[in-house]
């Protein structure tokens, strides 16, 4: 039987491997339990949430409450609207970042022009800058411009999240693309723009999809920007979920869990669908796997 090739450090069966599997198992119990718990809690009735732990009769009623006017009364935020806001903000932010970021990433990936590194590192530094340093002045500016509690305002500020990600990931994809492919298209008689559209763009499509989806996730998950820069009308889901925590002095653990579950679903689905590209994305193109 042909032995499968092993990567470095990999070993065939040994007595220690059972112990190793047990350690892994331990980690995954720890890792998955909170998620399981969130699902369980979301399925409990008001009575069950404080009297039971694992044995109860599940109900889907909580989701209905969260998404209906009843939830709005409790939190003074309409959760369905919040979902809608999140979608608009994140799709908008990602689209803006793509339109602006693709040419920049292409320029940085193809040419070593004067200042290219400065531009790239300035973009990257946004990723690591403390958010509040920007938020406080933005809070003042937004109030003057009427952008406070608007989707446009959120799309603008979310560029801090989506732009560095998209530009850096796509630059690494463009760098991997041989320049000779576009040169061949130029000599075939196509202009630079058509060569780019015809050759480069289709070939980095996986990179565009992966970085766009990942940027979407991070924009969706952002909390601190909308916490400060939105009021009650254009609140996205992350903020809306926390509203259930302090709802009218009474504990709505089950509703909170249901809201959290709804808010967590899109990122989880996206994450599972782009798993192949995640490493490169999460490391901003630094680790190409």
């Amino acid at each position: 039987m042909a032995a499968k090739e092993l990567t470095p450090g990999q070993r065939r069966f040994s007595p220690a491997s059972l112990g190793a599997d047990l350690v892994l198992l331990g980690w995954f119990v720890f890792s998955l339990f909170p998620l399981v718990w969130m699902v369980l809690l979301a399925l409990k009735t008001n009575a069950d949430q404080i009297t039971t732990f694992f044995a109860f009769t599940p109900t889907l009623k909580n989701f209905g409450i969260v998404l209906s006017d009843e939830g709005t009364r409790l939190t003074s935020v309409n959760f369905t609207d919040a979902l809608f806001n999140s979608v608009i903000n994140c799709v908008g932010a990602v689209l803006v970042s793509l339109v602006i970021g693709i040419p920049a990433a292409y320029a940085a990936g193809r040419w070593q022009y004067r200042g290219s590194n400065d531009v790239m590192f300035t973009i990257l530094s946004f990723r690591f800058a403390p958010e509040l340093m920007v938020i406080v002045p933005l809070f003042v500016i937004y109030n003057q411009l009427g952008l406070f509690d608007t989707n446009v305002g959120m799309i603008w500020v979310l560029q801090l999240v989506t732009m560095p990600l998209i530009v850096w990931i796509l630059r690494s994809y463009f760098q991997d693309l041989p320049a000779e492919l576009e040169q061949a298209a130029l000599l075939d008689g196509y202009t630079r723009r058509r060569a780019f559209m015809m050759v480069a763009l289709p070939l980095v499509r996986p990179g565009i999809a992966a970085s766009a989806l990942l940027a979407f996730v991070f924009a969706w998950n952002n909390y601190v920007f909308p916490l400060i820069l939105t009021g009650s009308r254009h609140t996205p889901v992350t903020v809306a979920v926390t509203r259930f925590l302090g709802g009218g002095g009474q504990a709505y653990y089950n509703l909170t869990a249901a809201a959290a579950l709804i808010a967590a679903l899109p990122p989880l689905i996206v994450a599972l669908s782009i798993q192949r590209y995640l490493v490169r994305g999460l490391s901003f193109g630094a680790v190409k796997a």
Binding site: A104, A129, P130, M133, P137, Q159, Y253, T256, V279
Partner: protein, 313 residues
């Protein structure tokens, strides 16, 4: 081999060509033109950033109708304030502990997953789930679990209903625990990808030479993995310096100032107390810390990458 004359395209021979020269300076400008939109956005973001830094030199607050330039007053005030230093301490403990624990655990998990046991292959698919959930949602979930009376943790662990995970003396470790829960997978998948991209030949060669697994790990694997580990460490350390989301939703900085990290401190100053200048001073100082740390870590990374590239030859 036939040498038939090509069918000529409609029209005659080669099409008439009128070369349109493009001046050299315009070709040199091309990458800049492509970057203009991005630069505009950068300016749009840099402006508030610079404005934020400027606030640190004003006495800007909601109660001050006409803020004026006060020089370094805010810095003197903040730097002599024990509350600020408590925040620095909390942030440092938080960032160092979280990064170290996540790195050790993440590398360990990556090594275990690399064995590709059946258990490992199943778990690899769900490894990233905590990482993809919004940290604030993670905070909400853990908050529910931490609840002394109704939370599941005290019940499962048999700690009774008085053990307060977010109480004095414990809260900081509890929020670090949540950070570990969220971000250990980040380190693990980066390092795992790194391990899998290592060249096989040196390992095969030393296995033929009869080297022990531990020797191979220390002398071959670790040096070659080091750049990947460092990338993960840089991301984790710099992110945990500015931690906000899940800590804020779990403790809002409390009890007292036990979990009041620098960003939460800045939030309290600027947004709760509406003292923009003091908040901005916090952020300016945090930014300086992050910037210097980043410069240092990136230079370490560069060296490690060069060394690893050398050891692969």
């Amino acid at each position: 081999m036939t040498t038939t004359a090509p069918p000529r395209p409609s029209g005659t021979g080669t099409p008439p060509r009128a070369p349109r020269p493009v001046p050299g300076w315009r070709r040199g400008l091309r990458p800049y033109l492509l970057s203009i939109p991005a630069v505009l956005i950068i300016v749009g973001i840099l402006y508030p950033f610079v404005l934020g830094a400027y606030y640190a030199f004003l006495n800007y607050a909601a109660v001050v109708p006409r803020p004026v330039f006060v020089g370094l007053t805010n810095f003197v005030e903040v730097l002599s304030d024990p509350v600020f230093w408590a925040s620095v301490r909390v942030t440092a403990i938080y960032a160092v502990t979280a990064t170290v624990v996540e790195t050790v655990l993440g590398v360990g998990i990556a090594l275990l997953l690399n064995r590709s046991s059946l258990v490992g292959r199943i778990f690899e698919r769900v490894l990233i789930l905590p990482l993809m959930i919004a940290p604030v949602i993670a905070g909400v979930i853990w908050g529910l679990m931490f609840n002394p009376q109704f939370g599941v943790l005290n019940h499962v662990l048999g700690l009774g209903s008085t053990f307060d995970w977010l109480g004095e003396g414990r809260a900081l470790w509890s929020v670090v625990l949540v950070d570990v829960w969220i971000f250990t997978p980040f380190v693990a998948i980066l390092v795992l990808a790194g391990i899998r991209s290592l060249p096989k030949e040196p390992f095969e060669a030393s296995a033929v030479d009869g080297a022990s697994w531990f020797y191979m790990f220390r002398r071959l694997m670790l040096p070659m993995m080091w750049p990947y580990i460092l990338v993960a460490v840089i991301f984790r350390f710099m992110d945990s310096l500015k931690v906000f989301d899940h800590v804020y939703v779990l403790t809002a900085g409390g009890p007292g100032d036990a979990t009041r990290t620098l960003q939460i401190g800045a939030y309290q100053n600027s947004i709760v107390n509406l003292n923009y200048s003091q908040g901005s001073t916090y952020m300016f100082l945090l930014w300086a810390i992050v910037f210097l740390t980043a410069r240092y870590l990136v230079s370490v990374l560069g060296k490690a990458q060069r060394r690893a590239a050398g050891s692969e030859e």
